[in-house]
């Protein structure tokens, strides 16, 4: 599964995306656990970051599959 990073999260992770090997569907918590293991610097952003799955904001029940595109959305500031 591809996970995209934007804005300050690019600075925190040093990259704009990462490929995760996903054997079974991941819950929000499990995906965060994977990401934090790879990028401990994301911990500081966790409370303010929303996750998206296939271009839609994820809810507490969302499951992430191997062919999904996930994205970490830090607080937005468009307009």
């Amino acid at each position: 599964m591809r996970v995209l990073f934007f804005a300050q999260l690019k600075d925190a992770t040093g990259c704009d995306s990462v490929e995760l090997a996903v054997a079974a569907p991941l819950s929000l918590e499990q995906l965060w656990a994977e990401l934090l293991e790879k990028f401990p610097a994301l911990a500081a952003h966790r409370a303010s970051v929303r996750l998206a799955r296939n271009l839609e904001y994820a809810g507490p029940q969302t499951l992430f599959n191997h062919d999904d595109e996930a994205a970490l959305i830090p607080p937005v500031s468009g307009g």
Binding site: R46, S48, A52, L55, E56, P75, G78, G79
Partner: protein
Amino acid sequence: MEITVQLTNAPIAEKIPPPASGLAGAWTEFRGLVRGEENGGPIFALEYEAYPEMAEREIRRLLAEISVKHPCLAAKVIHRVGVVPAGETAIYIGVAAKHRGVAFALLAEFMDRLKQDVPIWKRRALPVVQPERGSMSRSASESQRHIEIAAGHGPALRSLDEAVAEICSRCQPMPPVRVSLEEAFGRVLCETVCAPEDLPSCDRSTRDGYAILESDPAENYQVVDMIHAADWKLRQLQPGEAVRVATGAALPCGGLRVVMQEHVERSGGKIKIIKRESVPNIRKRGEDVKAGEPLVQARARLDAGKLALLASAGCAQPLVSPRLRVVHFTTGDEIIPLAQTPQPGQVRDSNSILIRSLLQRWPCEVFQAHLPEGFQLAKAESGKWKAEIERAELVLVSGGASVGEKDFTRPLLEWLGFETAFSQVNVRPGKPLIFGVSGNRVAFGLPGNPLAHFVCFQFAVATALAKLTGEAPPKFLLGRLTTALTDAACPRDTLWPARLELAELRPLPWASSGDVTCFAAANALIRVPANCDSLAAGAAVDFLPANF
């Protein structure tokens, strides 16, 4: 509704025609422009970043959702990405509708929602390139020219208000930096931080007690679950069911009230309600702050309470003023080290620690050294600290500023590259105050007398420090005298030392001991005596200053 969405690197056209359906009676347009200023400093452009596919989808979703409430015929949204110069359009939206009311309503709500949900970011502000910093390596003729410019710059004597205004206009905020919260104490916040989610994030109980359906009139209930403060369990309560909740516990569903444990009789798994209060004992989701609302405003100095609030909002790397670098020179051959006994005409150096301590309010690096008396000697000695002086945003020179033969502060500051803006202020004490400017750097020559030194720091240096860090400069406040002030006659304004004894206190609203937004605003604690229900405005109260 017909929706068009475009994200583009190119400038947005000056004129965009309405859709030619013939049904519309209104075509309302809004353009959001890039302001030529950010955090008090001039900027040349903003750089935008987007998650383009999702941004387009979110824009469409929001428009579709809002148009259910405010039915319109068509909407066209264009958002710039990449570098957008100041003055250009960053976002354009046009809405066509049968009548103007719905078009305005849709437009306004859409802009609010865009700023919450659409994955587009202002990545960074590109500052206007600042003029080159002054340098000490000027030739003598260049220094001379500077002195002439200074002399031709208006009167060297300023009133108190003129001096403060001139300091404000000549000090520019330094470019902000991102630092961790641990390093942010005392810095000035350079961006408004908004709540990323509702605070509190769900309905919470304000009592130890039992949650029941708000409108359930029963007297007896079955206790079906228990929720501790840190638990989160979803459950739709049924009539006749109660859930044991602790203070601060997240409630299992909406539409509840909490009955205090003191107001029930419990036997086994059942409770009987003996008293119902009129209040539901619930802190509602978003009661303190709603997602997207400002939590801490730009230009606020970060104290303990504001840092705690930023932490609770997940803001780990706030954009703040940088650490200042200050160089302070004491001068005067009469100044002796603290360990020596002063001979007639000598004094121990109290100004070094005075300045170092006063500067502690602004996170800064302070370099201090003593200069011998006389321009040539002081020039030679200060040359040793060239690197420190050149990288300092603020240079202070104590003493040697009154109009005596040995006064060399002004020529020294000019030799160091600071153009003299003024060299006297019509104020008592502290008349011989010198203010010099070199690009973004400023310098003060402070009169050597300790009280004059203290006074000049408070009205002049503190103003410069506030402007350099992006904070609002100190202001005169309105007070009332407790005893008469006499024998003050002086043709100059006097800054008379006083002791602040009475205070006016505005009680802040608070509902729960979990309210972080409350203590971020508080700087005192009023002692309300036990069983006292209310205190009238004007009442005398005891208070403890807190959180400065």
